[in-house]
Symmetry: C2
Subunit: 205 residues, 2 copies
């Protein structure tokens, strides 16, 4: 089905240290930031761990995630890239994959959940493919499977970036003639909200 050049698991995470920290500490970090130990984020932890290892410590890598579920938080917690600092880009494709890349060299590594490798881990596969209800698969049981699987359900490939490798620069801003707030000048003479695309009505007392 696919002809990708897939990288071997290499040194495979030992299970005690992930992303340079003890696993238990990583899981606490996840829960504190994300609100709960979301299985997608636990799996994402192993994905980031492998991508970091592949690209190496010397590279100031930017990141792309191919879903807005969970993976953005894995990147934000375990790399220096955040949405707000502009180093992380999010593609809303619902593909469970992420890439770390050197934006100057335009090269990097992509890591993804490999469904063929995941199939033997029934809980993980059924959860990801939405074949089982939350009621029938308790979080602790699912997360135990994910921790057991670790990197073995993932694949990785070396990539050369063809798009999205530039950091997005701030555009010119202007003051909206209607609301008096600053906005991206490219939106036209008044801001998006004043053009009718706003999301709220003001409550007047």
């Amino acid at each position: 089905m696919n002809n990708k050049t897939v990288i071997s698991h290499g040194s495979e995470s030992s299970g005690t240290n992930v992303c340079g920290r003890p696993l238990v500490e990583c899981l606490q970090t996840i829960e504190r930031f994300h609100g709960w130990k979301a299985p997608g984020l636990v799996l994402g932890l192993f994905m980031v761990d492998w991508a970091r290892e592949l690209i190496g410590e010397g590279v100031e890598a930017d990141a792309i995630v191919e879903t807005r579920h969970c993976l953005p938080d894995a990147i934000q917690l375990f790399t220096p890239c955040t949405v707000g600092n502009g180093w992380l880009k999010i593609l809303d494709w619902d593909k469970f994959a992420l890439s770390l890349y050197d934006r100057r060299e335009r090269s990097g590594y992509r890591v993804w959940l490999d469904l063929e490798k995941a199939q033997p881990f029934e809980n993980l596969y059924n959860w990801y493919m939405r074949l089982v209800s939350k009621k029938d698969l308790p979080l602790d049981v699912l997360n135990a499977t994910i921790l057991e699987a670790g990197r073995t359900v993932l694949s990785a490939e070396e990539i050369c970036m063809t798009r999205f490798y530039r950091r997005i620069k701030k555009d010119a801003i202007a003051v909206c003639a209607r609301c008096g707030e600053a906005y991206a000048a490219a939106q036209g003479p008044i801001c998006k909200a004043c053009q009718g695309e706003g999301y709220f009505q003001v409550v007047t007392q």
Copy 2:
């Protein structure tokens, strides 16, 4: 210029505790997560602080930011809302504003940088309007102005949500017939990347 019903600063943050924590601790959190004490994030801290106070502690609030610069990180660090858990939505409007809202009641509060109020704080105003270069306005000087200004350069209003108040549910997924990866079924018979919208080429050794 505008007829908004603006809320008074109320109890105004004392400068020692912001978002329920000592200011110095908040600034450390910002630097650790975002990589540096970005002025937009320091200002965002005061915005979140005020929005949190207005909506009250009892409300499990979702968030919207109206720019992808800095403010997403202010929300992610100082509320339970993150990009990856789906409680934070980002509008790419380059407006320095954020809202916290109760998604069931569809009501909440919006806080924004008020340019009229900001004008007396020359460093802050000139930075935000991009009237001064980084070279001519060192970060420490700018951040000192922002800390001095705090909430006084902001305005707030009570809002009723008309859009975006629902959490986005996960869509059905399918397995792409070309790459074999899972993707959002709504994209068609093959995934976006296989449709030609991908961002990389695989490097074959």
